[in-house]
Amino acid sequence: MDAVRTETSGREARFDPRGLVELDERVPRVAELEGGRATFDARELTTRQINLELRRLLYEENVHEVTVRNPGARHSLGVGILTRCSITFEGSLGYFACGMIDGPEVHITGRVGWSACENMMSGVVVIDGNAGSLTGAALRGGDVVVKGQVGARSGIDQKGGTIIALGDAGSMTGFMMQRGRQIICGDVGPGLGDSIYDGTIYVAGKIKSLGIDCVPGEWTDADTELIDRKFEIYGLGAPPRFQKFVCGKKLYNYDSLEPSERKLVL
């Protein structure tokens, strides 16, 4: 929809009732298409133009594979894509990269800022470099693979899915985690799994300190199967030896939640 025009005190103002800051709704149509694949250069495009072009290709042109060159570390790229597809960002992205996606398999060849993949529902995001804090915040499903290091509070409020970091993780990793899995191959900072409700955190390196109600868990064959499978899928080599951490259930009142509250964590 077009931005709405209003007149106030003799001055005309434009706004978008959906809350969009960037009001230019023109789709740039700059991609080169070839047999179900598309490539475009984002250097001269704005954030909204890049996302509009992505949606045009995936929803209207029946393209299933898109490469975005020169994303320029812009924020909020590749968000809200709700279809099965493959997207490659050749470069780094800013904050809130690939948030709220449901289905895409994304490869980011550079780094990402904070809150990458927040609220992701399904799909795969592989980040070749480092990721900022809050990676996979409120993740609901799918796999997030960070080949570098991740910042603080990775998987805060995580409700499903798997976060894999080959490097170190910052403080409060898995803070208020409710479901899902985290596989950290390096060291982790203080407060690991603080106030964790459910879910599993695997750590191969040193742990500065455990958070409230985060305790070592008993290793099972299912843990070995999960880690071997994920390492094989993403070509991560032989997995190191991990320690497993779960909720100690000292603060646990999950069973007494109201039905509507219980659904929020399912």
């Binding site: 009732p17 959906r18 099965r84 449901d102 799909g123 795969v124 609901r140 796999d143």
Partner: protein, 148 residues
């Protein structure tokens, strides 16, 4: 004497919303396992494993086996006997059947209310039609924008 005004009735309060309540009827695949046996879970999910379905398990709602549909925040009850050892697999197949058939209440809401273009049926169905291309903000009758 002033006119009599009737207060609007209290909205109905439902504690356990299930898919049948939202849609008004039960679906055949809730009662017949043969209708879900041919669902290919790997094909229905991104990546080379079950991806998001890994977190979907057979649960129970009001004493009946059920799977949770996160797209409508409701439980989908399963009434046929579930073979032992296949609980989670069957739960996932019933859910995917429900989503692919477009019966999830969230999909109906999407068609009516979504503000941005998106596939109507989500990532479980290829070449799904696009909805949300002509969203218009609702207008409250008699409302005028404030002057400042």
């Amino acid at each position: 004497m002033s006119d009599t005004h009737h207060a609007p009735a209290e909205p109905q309060k439902i504690i356990s919303i299930d898919a049948e309540y939202l849609s008004g009827h039960r679906f055949p695949y809730q009662e017949d396992i043969s209708l879900v046996e041919d669902i290919d879970l790997m094909a229905a999910t991104p990546g080379p494993d079950l991806n998001w379905l890994e977190d979907v398990q057979l649960l129970e709602e009001e004493g009946t086996p059920a799977v949770f549909d996160r797209y409508s925040n409701s439980f989908l009850k399963i009434y046929f006997p579930i073979p032992e050892g296949r609980e989670n697999e069957i739960a996932r197949k019933v859910l995917i059947k429900h989503l692919q058939a477009g019966n999830s209440y969230g999909i109906a809401l999407k068609e009516r209310h979504c503000k941005f273009p998106q596939p109507q049926l989500g990532p479980w169905v290829e070449d799904s039609p696009t909805v949300g291309t002509d969203w218009k903000p609702s207008v409250l009758e008699g409302w005028e924008p404030p002057e400042h």
